[in-house]
Symmetry: C2
Subunit: 505 residues, 2 copies
């Protein structure tokens, strides 16, 4: 048992699977950044070919055999055991989906995207209904295949955040709703905040320089990364030493660029912090999408929208944008921390965001339980928004058709956004306590203490532990909504002067 022949062979095989995944990521990044318009068809074929080969390698007996043999070699609770276990879960998941279903899904997603785009443009749900019905049906089949008799919706949740269950999300969202829905109603009655400190004219080149300076200061390594322009910002990983982020900007508002870059750089720092020695192995990955989102939100919200951060950032901001000379941190702070009920998730603030997610969670679980049909969704959507946020869309395009996720067959994905917010707040509270003077270091522009804390408690573990396990290890407590609610109610009090009770929540 002291030699690792099978384990080595397993890692070798996994490396090729990993290479195919990251090779495709390069092709996708290029598609979003630099590909000329006429290249789309050829690119689609190449990506489909690589996906097919990736699937073949995943379900090959060679890999399953190597995993089984490696399992015999590794010591219990070792890193090696975690590598093998993680690979096994992924391979079994791939094996559980019949080839016919995988092909039907790929086709339905492709057709779904096209129909959704058109339906959204024309504000006509009926032209997407058939495609969505098929997507729901096929994903219920997929969930059933993955669930092995267990909960179908849990199987979907687990695709994005291992170990997540509907049973634990129900009270979590209830707690969020119970505090945030009344709080938002109260906030809506207050005078609106002056957002002009974050508005004006911001030269794009100056925005780029300012945002790159902040990302570099956070610790994002541009020798192993890049910043490029895309329609929708994202972070993508091509392997150790090549983790890229993208951005967009508005000339009239600094927030989309600045918080977009801090958000994506937060994702990037996580990936750059994965242990180099694990590259091309199963564990060289984030523990889940929720944990990933916690990292991006932490830099964007906890750091980037805080007063201490702005004590450091303000002189740099004013140097980059001289028209902002004389602006005080106390004026900037509220402009960055507004909250108001809105119709569109991606434009929502930190607090209402979770209510947007709660709407989707509510609907998804009913869809997977079979207690609602696709035909009912537009009305159910509007009613749930009315209940939770007090707003109602005038058009399905701002209602049930606003998100791309379902059109891509991504059910069970939305909850990871709120999980991420919870994790973020809980980790940040703990980091503050552990570090003693986190605010002070942020005010000095010294982000290393926070980054090192995250490296230690999150990044260096890759996928070895689940998000929930990492949170518990780092904070000594199970994941809870309280830190997030403390943070959000405190913001509402400081910005709008409203108070909410957290007792009993």
């Amino acid at each position: 048992m002291s030699t690792f022949n099978a384990y080595t062979e397993f890692l070798r095989l996994w490396g090729t699977v990993d290479d195919l995944e990251h090779g495709s990521a390069v092709l996708q990044w290029d598609q979003e950044t630099y590909m000329p318009s006429q290249g789309a068809a050829a690119r689609g074929k190449i990506l489909a070919t690589l996906a097919g080969i990736h699937h073949d390698k995943m379900v090959a007996a060679e890999l399953s055999d190597a995993i089984a043999a490696a399992q015999e070699e590794v010591a219990p609770d070792s890193v090696e055991a975690a590598q093998v276990r993680t690979a096994k879960i992924e391979v079994e998941r791939e094996l559980k989906i019949p080839a016919k279903l995988a092909m039907d899904l790929a086709e339905a997603e492709s057709a779904g995207l096209v129909a959704w785009q058109q339906a959204r443009a024309e504000a006509d749900f009926s032209s997407f209904q058939t495609e969505l019905e098929l997507l729901v049906q096929l994903n219920r089949d997929k969930a059933a295949a993955l669930a092995d008799g267990g909960s179908a919706y849990d199987a979907m949740l687990n695709l994005y955040e291992a170990g997540t269950t509907e049973a634990e999300l129900v009270p979590m969202f209830a707690e969020l709703r119970n505090v945030l829905a009344p709080l938002m109603r109260e906030v809506a009655e207050q005078a609106p905040v002056d957002e002009s400190p974050a508005q004006g004219y911001f030269d794009p080149a100056a925005q780029q320089q300012f945002c790159k300076m902040i990302a570099a200061k956070m610790g994002y390594d541009f020798d192993g990364g890049r910043l490029d322009k895309t329609t929708h910002p994202f972070c993508t990983t091509f392997g150790h030493g090549d983790i890229r982020i993208t951005w967009r900007w508005q000339e009239s508002d600094i927030r989309p660029a600045m918080y977009g870059v801090m958000h994506e750089a937060g994702h990037g720092l996580y990936e750059q912090g994965l242990p180099a020695g694990w590259a091309r192995s199963p564990l060289w990955k984030a523990s889940g999408l929720g944990m990933h989102e916690s990292q991006s939100r932490m830099w964007e919200n906890m750091v980037g929208r805080s007063e201490p951060f702005w004590q450091w950032a303000m002189p740099h901001f004013q140097k980059a944008f001289p028209e902002k000379a004389g602006l005080r941190v106390a004026q900037m702070f509220p402009a960055l921390n507004t909250c108001k009920p809105s119709l569109i998730r991606v434009e929502a603030d930190e607090a209402t965001y979770n209510l947007h997610v709660a709407v989707r969670f509510e609907i998804e679980r009913q869809l997977f339980a079979g207690s609602v049909t696709v035909r009912d969704l537009p009305e159910l959507w509007d009613q749930t928004y009315q209940d939770l946020l007090g707003v109602r869309a005038q058009s399905v395009s701002d209602g049930v058709l606003q998100d791309i996720h379902w059109a891509m067959g991504a059910f069970g994905y939305f909850p990871t956004y709120s999980i991420g917010n919870l994790v973020c707040a809980q980790l940040f509270e703990q980091a503050s306590a552990d570090l003693g003077d986190l605010d002070g270091s942020l005010a000095r522009g010294d982000f290393q203490p926070l980054l090192q804390w995250l490296r230690t408690h999150v990044h260096q573990h890759g996928r070895r532990f689940s998000t929930k396990e990492l949170v518990e290890k780092a904070t000594g407590k199970p994941l809870s909504a309280l830190p997030l609610l403390r943070h959000l109610t405190s913001l509402a009090e400081r910005v709008y002067g409203v108070s909410a009770s957290l007792q009993g929540s």
Copy 2:
């Protein structure tokens, strides 16, 4: 025979092979353009994995069987027959190389590149000698495997330009040498040409705009292409609708940027002119490297350095670079058509370039005949340069170590440069005759007649015919050195006032 089941399956399989090749091309392009420095190791692994899978798919019985079955279905002399035949040649070539040899070659090339870079930097041939000896030995093994008892060097030549033989190259280079070597000696005695019209200060952004304007005017389609910056310019193809070129510039000289872009756009026009319906099939490729080079050289040299072209281009040039106001075409023309013996191939002018290639051809054939050893190369190199160009390098870095080709295991590649020059001149002569007023259209900035001629006689045929066949079809004559020699001697006469006799050559 009226259904094409096997043929369709053959094309499907080939499509995946093609996707792997073009997917790798995207990864390589990114490596040269945007990849952060720390990404190199991960990128190397991904590319190696894709190369391995490509090889596996090429030698798979599935593909060979499909080719054999398709061969039964296709009509003789049809396009389909050419598709199958071309694929068969490639597959057989891949099958002939034993796996062990392929691995040894990949390793030797990798080690060779490193050793060459160091040897070149240190001007020390001895530190590359062992690696080069191994590369020569392995490539002779490879050539023997490919040659099936035929000529080893011919097998290498055929890798880059199908149907090329040493026996036909010997008189070709003799003819070039016999005219050009004495001509260059005579030119060397003339007063140097004033190159200042092409020199000065050229703002990089203005260079980019000027060069892109020319490329677009030539017909290079930027909706299916791009121009990016790299250390060494190249053209690369990712599929129909995505054919990219790269460039570099010097602030003090317009020539590297302008002729680099025209050269690469010439390659790009060839690829953009391949028949869209053949995409992802064996024939969707240039007929060979020589033909490819003929297209790039035609736009660079025949068009871009000509007086008619400059009658159109001069006002645009002067608008982009106002300091050039007042410059006349008659002053510009000699500055773009200098020729003088030099040590470095990549810096050589149109005329001496072929002598640089002749040196390498002479040495390669002796290496493959076993009549010289690697140890003899530095002295043989210098002596051959002395004989053909009348110059001798002071350092091996400017001598035998100047090119990357042998370090990459590319033997038999150099002759395609001169083949390209011959083809270029012969096609351009014919196009001039066919089109009647080619000079007139160039002077009006109307490049469509020439492009359409090339589309008809070259581009639309893809790899269906060999370069030699295409030349003969287009011009009614076998490939000959005379058109090139007519062009070069005419230039020498106009720029330097020297004359050469072509009689008997």
